[in-house]
Amino acid sequence: MTHEIHLRDEFGLRLSDGSEAYRFRVSKIDPYLAICDQVVLDFTGVRSANSSFVNALVSGLFEQHGAQTLGKLVFRGCLPTIQVLVQSAVDLGIIKHAERVA
């Protein structure tokens, strides 16, 4: 089963609030990672995002579940400026996960 989340519909054109992203991740993404084969975070139509938002949304998923999340999570429709932040947040989360389990 694939679960798709359209961030443009949830947050609008611009993604900025780190605290809001954290709450959304905990309540709307984490639960689906456990029960779905694939979760798609669709950034289509999002004009800009700051690092606070992307880190809060993405990094914690990998910090909690580790690199195995790579096989379940797909990022769709990212502008190049957003893609840089997403990959960076993935790396950060995996590093933090490794520190936790070490």
């Binding site: 611009r14 609030d17 690092s51 606070s52 990094s59 690199a67 990022f75 190049p80 840089v84 950060l92």
Partner: protein, 310 residues
């Protein structure tokens, strides 16, 4: 007594912050506005944060000279008197349309994205429309304000304020954010960075401009908000000042650093970030943002590549 100087802008800002720092712990303080003739958004934000901290700490502050202050009406329009509790009740003055000119002091109490939209719309009217000539400036203001406001909410543990100013023609945009929280040196020391306990505060601030130096906690943070913001301002040919604790750092002219330390024994309570850049330099903001990200967080040949779909 805290004698507010005649000018709080440009070269007068750091000495003013030193004045605030020197009086931050006074149990009773008299603030005299008689001489004040000009104040930048950074001066306003710093003063509002200073007063918020004194109020939080239940320190007594009295004010004189407002009646004869030459820019009293400006201070009212910029919300300083109301936010500091020096004026209450219904407004008895006419507000000017702030769009394209200034952003009155705004407390960082509501949603960051709403705050970003509100301030960007003031600085770059119409820029929310992608095809508008102000779109680049709108995006730049939105990005810088939301990154800094997130830092205030997630790290400072104190009340924050933002103010801004611009001109309709190709003048400068000035954006300032100040908070009355724990400050960058204490925040990083609490996060477990040992070097933050040993270095002078101005060196700690400089380190905070390096990617991946950030207070920990949730939400997860990579410590690139301040780094990217400073680099973007750099790429726009502007300058950024960061004052926190006992030190300050100014970055301008493509990364030339000027570090200063306040007089021995005094600390600025909280953090002030003041940025300025030319309006026209923000026209290609998206390109500058991308360049800043490539410079500060280049995509590594990560063994953990995420899956991206068009």
């Amino acid at each position: 007594m805290l004698q507010i100087p005649k000018y709080i802008n440009a070269d007068g800002l750091i000495p003013f912050l030193g004045q605030l720092a020197a009086h931050s712990g006074a149990a009773e303080l008299l603030v005299d506005f008689t001489s004040l003739q000009r104040v930048s958004p950074a001066g306003l934000a710093a003063l509002a944060a200073f007063m918020a901290r004194r109020s939080r700490d239940r320190l007594v502050t009295n004010v004189v000279g407002l009646e004869t202050c030459g820019i009293r009406e400006y201070l009212r329009r910029m919300n300083l008197l109301r936010l500091c509790g020096w004026e209450q009740g219904d407004e008895s003055f006419a507000r000017h349309d702030p769009r394209g000119r200034f952003v009155p002091l705004e407390p960082i109490t509501h949603r960051v994205d709403d705050l970003g939209d509100q301030i960007a719309a003031c600085i770059a009217p119409g820029g929310e429309d992608y095809a508008n000539p102000n779109a680049g400036l709108y995006d730049a203001a939105w990005y810088l304000v939301t990154e800094m406001a997130n830092n205030v909410q997630q790290h400072s543990r104190g009340m924050g304020f933002v103010a801004a100013q611009t001109t309709p023609s190709d003048g400068f945009v000035r954006i300032a954010i100040a908070d009355c929280g724990c400050g960058i040196p204490a925040s990083l020391a609490d996060a477990g960075f040992q070097w933050a306990r040993n270095l002078p505060d101005e060196d700690i601030i400089e380190q905070a401009l390096v990617a991946r130096v950030s207070s920990k906690g949730q939400p997860s943070n990579e410590g690139v908000g301040l780094t990217l913001s400073a680099r973007i301002v750099d790429l726009m040919g502007g300058h950024i000042l960061i004052a926190s604790g006992a030190g300050s750092v100014i970055r301008s002219n493509h990364s030339v650093l000027k570090k200063e330390r306040f007089a021995p024994g005094i600390r600025f309570p909280g953090t002030l970030v003041a940025m300025s850049f030319r309006r026209s330099e923000a026209a290609d903001f998206e390109h500058k943002l991308h360049t800043a990200k490539e410079l500060e967080i280049p995509l590594r040949a990560s063994p953990n590549s995420a899956t991206f779909q068009p």
